[in-house]
Each structure stands twice: as structure tokens, then as C-alpha cells.
Subunit: 325 residues, 2 copies
């Protein structure tokens, strides 16, 4: 920057101003500085800038997994808007593990991000403490609570489970089994579903639980397990993910079972393929695009006016009925 200034015949500060607030520099000077920048191939050092101004224009985004479309589409929408406002994204995967999340938070905080996006509302005490101490804007997504660290944008997982149970009962199913991945939020949906369905149907609701992420292959295994235990005809399977549901459908087809006659299937996430499976998949839809955008906007508002209007934003969900249940 000093070099650029020398070449343009001005001081280093003027170069700094030319870059950050060009209107404060006379047009001629600005021109000479721009030329000098081009000649020298000067690349600003945002690290020094961040240190001096105590503003990094960096936002940290933590999520369980990028390979899951459910999170990556949120990240996409979020980063798109943040980028538009001049922020860059540092990201880490936390894999449904609070300890890993705490470590990631600590590391990210050392970079002095201007804000942080966290997936979920449950965090280790240490994580919460660090976040509260630094006082940066934090948005928790994909869930809601009355006591967010700062603000949150999501939906009620218990609500989704209840909605699925009510739908299933309304559709005439009197038996159910849950298929659940190793994810705390999925378990909360399962529990709400099970409680509600059991109450309304007066039957037990067996559970098939995995302690890893959902996948097509596990979905196939799940059906095998369900059939081993024996199912009444007209049982509905409530899955914690469309991945499971797709696997279930594939396995049912392979075994010559008719869906939804022999077994009915409800997915979660309403992924693009849900409309195109055979039979098409009944699922719970969350607008991830909107969710990511609202999360970004919450932070941007927070930067601008110092506080968010609505600390808790429920984006809701929608049960999309198709052919599988």
C-alpha cells in the first residue's frame, strides 16, 4: 500500500481511503492510485485490515454435513446472500457431535468472525459460554427454541412428528414403525410421532434406530428389520429422512411388496426425487432456501440495526401427500 502510494505520489493512508471510501478522495488522485494499483499488481491484505478495524467480514457457518442436501442447500442460500453483502464464509462440518462443534467454534472464534451460523439449538455449555462472551451475532438454524443464544430460524421438530402422526391417523393407518438416523433432531421427531400415534391408535410404535446418518442402503436394511419383527398390513413407516424412505421403497419393490398397500412410507425433507420415486413419496417439506435466506438476513439486520426484530423465526413445514402413504 505504501508502494502504491509512492507510485501515485500520495501517502499510504490516501490509498487506504481510495479503496474503502473513494468518494473521500479527489477524482484525479483516485485515478492515479488506480493506475498504480494496476501497475504494481497490488492485492489488499484483508488480514491486516481486519486486525486494525476489528471487523473481519468473515462469517462462520457450522453444520453437521455438507454432503447432505438438506444442509448444503441452506448453506448455498445463506452464503449467497452473505456474499452479496460483502461477507465471506468459513465453514466446518460438525457431524452431529457437540464436542466437535465446540472445538470448531473455538477455532472459528479465533479468526474473529463477525457472526456465526450454527445448526441446531443444542450446544455444549462451553460452546454457549464462548459465544455469549464474544457477543457476536449468532443465528441458530434448522430448529427453534424460546431461548436462543441470539436468534434462530427453523421449525418445530416435535411439531413435524405430530403432524405426521395426525396425517397417518387421518389417512386410516392404525400401525406404525419409526426409522430414525443418529441425529438428535430426528429423534425428537420420532418421539413426538410415537407419542401422538400411540395415543391416537392405542397401539405400540416400534422403532428401528441407527446411530449414523441416513442412507439408501440403511433404508433397505431397515425394511428387512421391520419385516423380521413382523408388521400388520397397512403399517406406516415414519422415516427421519427421504434417504431412508427411498431405500425402503427400493427394498419393498425388490421383495414384491406393494406400497402403500402392504406398507406405507412417510419421508422427511422432500428432496427433489421424492416426486419421482415409484410410488411417489409422501414427505415433510421444509423450505431450505428461505431458511438460509432468513438466517442471512437476520445477521445482516443485526449488523445494521444492532438487533433482530424477531429473535425466533418459525419457517414451518408442510406435509406433502403423494402416493406412498
Amino acid at each position: 500500500m505504501t508502494d502504491v502510494g509512492r507510485l501515485a505520489g500520495v501517502s499510504q493512508v490516501t490509498v487506504s481511503r481510495a479503496l474503502s471510501s473513494p468518494q473521500k478522495v479527489s477524482p484525479q488522485t483516485l485515478q492515479r492510485i488506480e493506475d498504480a494499483i494496476r501497475q504494481t499488481g497490488y492485492v489488499p491484505n484483508a488480514v491486516a485490515g481486519a486486525l486494525a478495524s476489528n471487523k473481519s467480514n468473515l462469517v462462520a457457518a457450522l453444520m453437521p454435513s455438507v454432503t447432505n442436501i438438506v444442509y448444503s442447500s441452506m448453506l448455498h442460500a445463506f452464503s449467497d446472500i452473505m456474499w452479496g453483502h460483502g461477507y465471506q464464509i468459513m465453514f466446518s462440518e460438525t457431524g452431529f457431535d457437540l464436542d466437535r462443534e465446540e472445538k470448531a467454534i473455538a477455532t472459528h472464534l479465533s479468526r474473529r468472525p463477525d457472526a456465526m451460523l450454527l445448526t441446531g439449538i443444542h450446544h455444549s455449555p462451553g460452546a454457549r459460554r464462548m459465544l455469549v462472551n464474544t457477543g457476536i451475532p449468532v443465528v441458530e438454524v434448522w430448529d427453534i427454541t424460546d431461548t436462543p443464544i441470539d436468534c434462530c430460524v427453523g421449525f418445530s421438530h416435535a411439531g413435524a412428528g405430530i403432524a405426521a402422526a395426525d396425517f397417518a391417523i387421518g389417512a386410516g393407518y392404525r400401525h406404525a414403525v419409526t426409522i430414525t438416523a443418529g441425529d438428535e433432531r430426528a429423534r425428537r421427531r420420532r418421539d413426538a410421532f410415537t407419542t401422538r400415534f400411540a395415543k391416537l391408535s392405542q397401539t405400540e410404535v416400534p422403532a428401528v434406530d441407527f446411530d449414523t446418518s441416513a442412507s439408501l442402503g440403511l433404508g433397505r436394511q431397515a425394511l428387512a428389520r421391520v419385516l423380521e419383527q413382523g408388521v400388520s398390513p397397512g403399517t406406516v413407516l415414519f422415516c427421519s429422512s427421504d434417504q431412508f424412505a427411498q431405500g425402503l421403497l427400493a427394498e419393498a419393490a425388490a421383495r414384491g411388496l406393494s406400497v402403500p398397500r402392504d406398507i406405507a412410507v412417510i419421508g422427511f425433507g422432500d428432496q427433489e426425487f421424492a416426486a419421482y420415486t415409484e410410488p411417489s413419496l409422501t414427505s415433510i417439506r421444509i423450505d431450505r432456501q428461505i431458511l438460509g435466506q432468513l438466517a442471512a438476513n437476520a445477521l445482516v439486520d443485526r449488523f445494521a440495526i444492532g438487533t433482530t426484530l424477531n429473535a425466533v423465526h418459525d419457517v414451518g413445514f408442510e406435509l406433502v401427500r403423494r402416493a406412498s402413504a
Copy 2:
């Protein structure tokens, strides 16, 4: 850090040392410093550290899209390894747009990353210049070239197109149509396929091209377009993505067409669902996990020994034959 030092009765430098090279500090002092850190809730400032040491422990990763599993799984593998080596990831989406990529590169370079991952081997002249000027390690992934900026890990897209054509001819197909998304690498696969297939079959290979990303819905549209133009029985459709292929399959089922008898389908990417579609999908598989890992390792080697052994790493691909072709 000064505060911590005061509390521990040592100078600020000693605290710095205790953090970066504990073995250079006496055990007692270390203990007192650790206590002081805990008491004060001190969080290191990596921004200042990066400025002073000219080492950011930050790696930039640019890719067209995170919502595409093909890229996100690479990112996952890459960031996993980099994180294990103490690096954090700054990421941006570039959306198959070289101008956007150039802007993103410039912005990222201002953060002084220690290395950069780029998707693809084609970049704007400006982007290339900046990268060469800074001289940081750069790994280009998902493609190969004899003239990488620094090093690259990928496979030959032309090779994949040729392999698909050879396979189709070998399987007895004498007519083909290509379905291609708005992606330069997809077009290169298409062109190689078309040239080879046309030569071997002595027929024309019509193209259905889109200028956006592949999706299931577009795949359905693609079949409609293909059928409008009229296809000979036993035509094989070479898709630039499994998404297209899945859409094609869905549309074929909806129209009562038999796959592969009426039309055959070859996908690209071998996504998890490829084995479970009806009929199961013949596709081209790339080991994205390995690809991401090799990219990370190339950078880590570069940090350690200053140069990579193999600047160009061809991870290859595998045509996985299933029922659709």
C-alpha cells in the same frame, strides 16, 4: 495475551510461546499460564497471528456449487483432511462462471490463504495471473491438464466420453443422443462421446443441451424433446449427470416406455441412488472421496516439502454397467 501474562507473572511473549511451542516453556510456567488462560477466558486472535507470521492456516476452496453432491462430497473429504492438519476452509461457490471465479479468487487472496483449491482447469487470464503472482500452492481438481497452475487431481473428461461411446457401441447400440447441462466439462464429455460414437456407428448424434445445472425435472423435459425429434428403437441417451438420467427414467416410466429396450440410458457420477432406480442406472463412477483426499494431501505435501511429487494426478473413472444400458 498481555493480560494472561500479567496474571501468570510472565511476559506476553512467554504466553505466545506457551501456546505455539509449549516445550520451550518450563512446566511450572506453562501451568500458571494455562490457569491464567482459563481464568481470563482468553481466546487467541488468529488474525493478529496470521499478520505477524504471514501464515494464515486458512485454505480457500472454490467450487461451482455445494448443493451438487459431486462437489460437496469432494469438499467434505478435502476439508476433513485439511482440518486434521490444522487448516480451516474458506469456501465460495462460483457457479460455472469464470468471472465470478475470478472475483472470488481475488477476494480470497486478500485473506492470504496458505493454499487454494480450484474446481476445473479453465480460469480467466486475470485469475491465473493473480494465482501465479502470489505463488501459493494451488490444486485444481475434477479435471486434468498437462499445464496446471501448480498441481491437479482429476480425470479426463474426454476419456470418460470416449469410454461411454465405446461401451455403448460394444453393447450393441447404433444410435445415440446426448443430454448435457450448462457446464464446460460436461460439454467436453459430450463432444468426445459424439465424435467417437458417430465415427464408430456412422450415424449422427443429436444433442439436447441446457444452459443450467442438471436436475430431475430437466431430465424429464429432455426425454420429451428427444421423443419429439423421433428416436430409433435402441437409442442410447448419454447424460451429463445422473440427475438427468433419473428424470429420463421417471419420464420413460410415465410414458410406458421400456428401458433399455425402447431407450437406453447412461448417467454420469454414479450417485448413491443409481443402483436403486428402476431399472438400475448404468453410470460413470468417480471416486470423489479419494479425489478430495488426494487434493488435500497434495497441498499438505506442498507445505511440507515445498513441492508435489506428481503435479498431475489422474484418478480415473469407472463405467459401472447396470440395467439401464
